[in-house]
Subunit: 188 residues, 2 copies
DNA sequence: GTAATAATCGTATGTCCGTATGGTTATCTG
DNA sequence: CAGATAACCATACGGACATACGATTATTAC
């Protein structure tokens, strides 16, 4: 419902109707509406996180380069198809409310921090294995990569002509400035 | 009021009270509440745009490098002090609503496009004058720079420790990957 | 089997809000 | 000065919504 018509068209009674239950039952599960929305935000956040984790796991088993796996993981956040656009709308709507709700802000901050940490870890792993030069600061690089990914997502969603087509390439180029080498385990 | 307590605590009557006038007078100026909010969004958007334009004008008269002026212009969007944090809250709150309001979305898209165009223009000017290499695509570079700026703003606002301190440096480093040369008019 | 707990419903209540209405006063214009 | 337009106010109306409440049925546990 948030993806379809926005957060402020979500009412308790509409939610109940959509779930095929009564208002009273919704109240039985959530003390207050805010609790319900917070739960929804947590749920969608972990959903995204788990999907990304799946991409990473898949990439690891197929022994792909860290840069390639990271690219797929980051691209998972880009609103390039309809389900991801819907997800984007939900997350952004919550992010807007998070400006004035500590509870939502904490979820927002936690997931952002987790993303940053994962990217930084990828960079450090890359440095250990040879894909990343030894003079690269992992946290600085992670901040930049996360920022580009986030900013690109916004631009893709807004649909400036041509951005969507090149978003993935732009992300790859950005990663290319950090992942400059090749993993030693792949060399002869 | 939006900056203080968020968009959804803004009611017509509270707005009237804050402006020291009656509800009726607010209605005299705005046919509907949404018109009022749209006006507010347009106002804050042009306010930011004009401040940035001022920075650019100031930089041009002092004959500073394009990269330096652009850095100041972009840094103007970072929520590094309280007024700018307030501005950020307002813009982001509206951006959240813009997901479901075509009128707000148009303002959002227009200002984003204007920012992108200004950055691209700076890059092209840089190429003409020698600060930027001739093989750089201005639009691609602008997309990346705008994305980093936007993403950094989010991260600065969220206040991850240490990000604020290095945000300006990160921005400068990003510009440094595009503005690699020196303007010919400064050379002997 | 019974007591307790969970699931489930329908409705009532009180509040808040956007907008409509009808009016009065000031300001400008010719 | 007359008349029109703009500035301005108080209040009423109607709707929507979050939550409270009281009740009923199903499920579980002892």
């Amino acid at each position: 419902m948030i993806a379809e018509t926005g957060l402020d068209t979500v009412t308790v009674s509409r939610t109940a109707a959509r779930a095929g239950m009564s208002v009273g039952l919704v109240q039985h599960y959530f003390r207050a509406k805010d609790d319900m929305l917070l739960h929804a935000f947590q749920e969608v956040s972990t959903e995204v996180a788990e999907r990304v984790a799946g991409v990473v796991r898949e990439g690891a088993t197929h022994r792909r380069t860290i840069a390639d796996v990271l690219l797929d993981a980051l691209a998972e956040h880009l609103p390039l198809d309809e389900p991801r656009r819907a997800e984007f709308r939900v997350v952004r709507a919550f992010a807007g409310r998070a400006l004035d709700s500590p509870a939502l802000a904490e979820v927002d901050a936690r997931t952002a921090e987790a993303t940053h940490a994962e990217i930084a870890r990828a960079v450090r792993n890359g440095a250990e294995c040879g894909e990343v030069g030894p003079d690269v600061d992992a946290d600085t690089a992670a901040t930049r990569i996360a920022s580009v990914a986030e900013g690109l997502a916004t631009r893709v969603y807004r649909g400036a002509p041509g951005v969507a087509d090149h978003a993935r390439a732009a992300l790859r180029a950005e990663l290319g400035t950090v992942f400059t080498g090749r993993c030693r385990q792949y060399e002869g």
